[in-house]
Amino acid sequence: METMSKLGRILMVEDDPKDVELTLTALEEYNLANEVIVTRDGEQALDYLYCRGEYQTRSRDNPAVMLLDLKLPKVDGLEVLKQIKSEGELRMIPVVVLTSSKEEKDMVASYKLGVNAYVVKPVDFHEFVNAIKELGVFWAVINEPPPGSVRK
């Protein structure tokens, strides 16, 4: 695939292993899964972004997009969003909230914090796969990521 060469790295923050598997499966189906970092809670996600803890030695470039669940252990999604959107460098990373919740207050809070997109995970797997595919294609392929992001 031509686009493979410039596929952006995706940072996924998701605590549910089944959701991780299904998402990865969906991404795989469209060959978008070769550069996906999975973090399982808000703290780990922040560690990754700030290159600390287990991610101390990772390459310094930022992901092309971050798929963020809201209901997370330790530090929840809104808190993660708040922290990175108030940080000079990290602020530029496009963040897509990917959540089960259709709650209006979550949506409003996310947009107020500067989220780039808000996607409710559809129950129907077809729709779910399509949503993930489109997200992956748009953010990891079509969208020009901010400087400092990794592209392969």
Partner: protein, 503 residues
Amino acid sequence: MARPNLELQIARSPVLRYGLAVLSVSVAFGASLLLERFHFRNVADPLFLLAIAIAVWYAGTGPAILAVVLSGMTDTYFFIEPIYSIYITRADVPHFVIFVLFASLLTGFAAVRRRVERDLVQARDDLQIEVAERTQQASLLNLTHDTIFVRDMSDVITYWNRGAQELYGWTDKEAIGRHSQELLQTIFPTPLEDIRAELLRTNRWEGELKKTKAEGTQVVVASRWSLRRDDQERPLAILETNNDITERKRREEEIQGLNRELAKRSTDLESINKELEAFAYSISHDLRAPLRHMAGYTELLQKHASAVVDEKSNRYMAMILESAKRMGNLIDDLLAFSRIGRAETQKTLVSLAQLVREALAEVRQDTEGRNIAWRISALPDFYGDRSMLRLVLVNLISNAIKFTRTRPQAEIEIGCADGNRDELIVFVRDNGVGFDMKYVNKLFGVFQRLHPSDAFEGTGIGLATVQRIVHRHGGKVWAEGLVDSGATFYFSAPRAEGHLWKP
């Protein structure tokens, strides 16, 4: 009471008064001459003294002095040796001096007596005027319905108006002279010493007191005390005005009780609402995830195994997917329904005609390939939550579309029924499959359905949503139907102030 009219004892005219003096002396003189002719002795002096006394008594001091002078002169001239001369012998000097002194003393006494008498009359008149004034004031105080009484500094009642009688049941005769606190069994909110101290300091006191009527019931009164002082600033009496506030107090307490109850219920409701919100939030996150996984893995299974499993297994997998999808819809509808209960209504002036157009646009997909005759009459504007009202119309219209599906020619009518002045009624009528009026009460219940889901799809929450929204607007929903002869759904909304009727 028979009193001598003292005023008439003194003639007003000076001529009459001095005339009386001259006349009485003349009469005494004449009588003396007459009596001497009959050889009575020493009659002149007593008679002149009598004349002076009469002049003093009836004519006043001036005429009395004139009488003394005239008597003295007449006496020396006619009765004291030498006779027919104003000279008197040395031997008669004491007699004459004593006569004059006695007469003068008599005049003096009379003058003092008259002055005392005049003062007395004056004092009596003043008293009469004051009594008249006081009586008038007291009767004025009796006119008011306020309870007014006066007590002296030892709390003995000295005045008791009719208002007091009406409130407490004691007449003025029964109350006056009694100790007020004892008579009325007064209960004070603060120690009586403090109240008295305040009264003496500021000359007034106000507060609520409990008192007992003659018949034994207790009343709460708003009491105002005013202290009256005498000229030397000594406390004299206390004027107390009472207003019966028993009923007001009772109502106040009732209102306070109700307010407390209301506040408690409101708090309860708030916490229930919070719980409900947390519950809904949790459902929306946690319940959908496993459902998504079920659907996801089943689909993956379908993809991996469809070639190797038999048709039956494939059908089972399809059923699982269908159920998962249905449950997803149920959860979504239930959340939407609970959101309507929690959301604030934002009322604006809404054009129902415009809302119907929007609702029709939203359900257009369902009408594809259908033959539907729409009859939409003029619809009014009114105040309501725009998005909620739109949901009402979408639900009612899509129901009408759904349940006329079996009709070759569907007819759907949207209009405004004759409401009254206070409310307007909107209806949606169809010629669809209708329903049995026996089950009309089930129509608006959550998850209540009158048709099997394979005949007409749906979660059974649409009409419950309609009802909830209409209730939140202060209106009612109801329906009429006949099996196989269509149904009409009505909702009413109060035409409160600002609800404009624009046909």
